[in-house]
């Protein structure tokens, strides 16, 4: 299990770097996580869950496979949040089947 952890933390490293660099180029970085609503059938999540169990991982519960978007944004933080919140609702996610979480760093 320890070797797995190492592998993942190395993969995550570039994301952390981007976040710290954000101040240099674009003013802010918006991070948007889109997941299927709980009521929606998620065969992909179910398949991943089954595969994890097959691989012998213990205590794995429901899995939901979603999407992750990073968007460089410039300007006023409140305006950026308002605009992106609207974009999430209108375009980036489909409220019929998905939930989203918007973070601005």
């Amino acid at each position: 299990m320890i070797s797995h952890r190492k592998k993942f933390s190395r993969r995550d490293a570039p994301l952390a770097n981007i976040a710290t660099r954000a101040g240099a180029g674009a003013d802010m970085k918006a991070k948007i996580i889109i997941t299927p609503k709980k009521a929606v059938l998620d065969p992909q999540g179910k398949t991943v869950q089954n595969a994890l169990a097959h691989l012998g991982y213990q205590g794995i519960g429901a899995v939901h496979v979603g999407k992750y978007l990073e968007i460089d944004v410039e300007g006023d933080r409140e305006t950026a949040r308002r605009q992106l919140d609207e974009a999430c609702h209108k375009f980036l996610s489909n409220p019929v089947i998905e939930d989203y979480r918007l973070e601005i760093e």
Partner: protein
């Protein structure tokens, strides 16, 4: 009749639709590029299948904001007949012209095969020529055709007789195993409250000639034509 067949980048059933409507059924059918802002003198609009804009983000998510879709919104609001097929159905759902959404097939597989459709109601411009009890044999070809809507929407669809087609087995029974994608209530196609906008996942345009294995799809287009001919006047585009 004049049919407008929309063309998005990566539409791939547009030519089939124009062939079926033009060469097979003898109507005028022309392509309308996604950047057009007008539908011209169209009597009806076909939103064809394919992978518009590469299906990026979600199926139909980007196509719905194209200029031509603003014209389709206006056309539909005036009562114009709009039929979305496969990706066209997905686009119409994304555009809010039809309720619900189409998500990954429950099997996670792309399904490409002939299915049987039960026509639930003949009370629509898309089904009026389908004989009662006639089972339509029409191909599907999709990876994201599992119809989803919340319970309230499903109840409304049923109460308003807006489910047009359901997946059925060869005996016409609507069973879970007859569905290629796991759609709720086996929904293959439905219409809006005004009954002038409809969408379905199966491809009637690929089933208009016996040499293709089935000509049952003609009944859907012939229904559209019958509805147009029965109208006092066509809506302005």
């Amino acid at each position: 009749m004049n049919f407008a067949v929309l063309q998005f980048p990566a539409s791939n059933c547009d030519q089939d639709a124009v062939h079926a409507l033009g060469a097979v059924l003898g109507h005028a059918a022309r392509y309308v590029w996604h950047k057009e802002t007008s539908l011209g003198d169209a009597d009806a609009v076909i939103v064809p299948g394919g992978f518009s804009y590469g299906d990026y983000l979600r199926t139909g998510a980007i196509a719905r904001f194209s200029p031509v879709m603003q014209a389709v919104q206006a056309f539909a609001a005036q009562g114009g007949l709009v039929l979305g097929i496969c990706n066209g159905f997905q686009i119409l759902c994304e555009a809010g012209l039809l309720p619900g959404a189409l998500i990954r097939n429950r099997s996670l597989q792309f399904r490409c095969e002939h299915v049987h459709l039960k026509t639930v109601t003949t009370d629509s411009p898309f089904t009026n020529q389908v004989p009662p009890d006639k089972l339509l044999r029409i191909p599907v070809a999709h990876g994201e055709g599992c119809y989803f809507a919340d319970e309230a929407t499903l109840a409304e669809l049923a109460a308003q007789d807006r489910i047009l087609w359901q997946y059925a087995n060869a005996r016409g029974e609507v069973t879970e195993s007859a569905s290629p994608n796991g759609s709720l209530r086996n929904i293959a196609g439905l219409c809006n409250p005004g009954r002038n906008v409809a969408g379905l996942m199966p491809h009637p345009e690929r089933a208009c000639e016996a040499i293709l294995g089935s000509a049952d799809g003609r009944l859907i287009f012939e229904s559209l034509v019958h509805a147009l001919r029965s109208r006092p006047c066509a809506p302005a585009a």
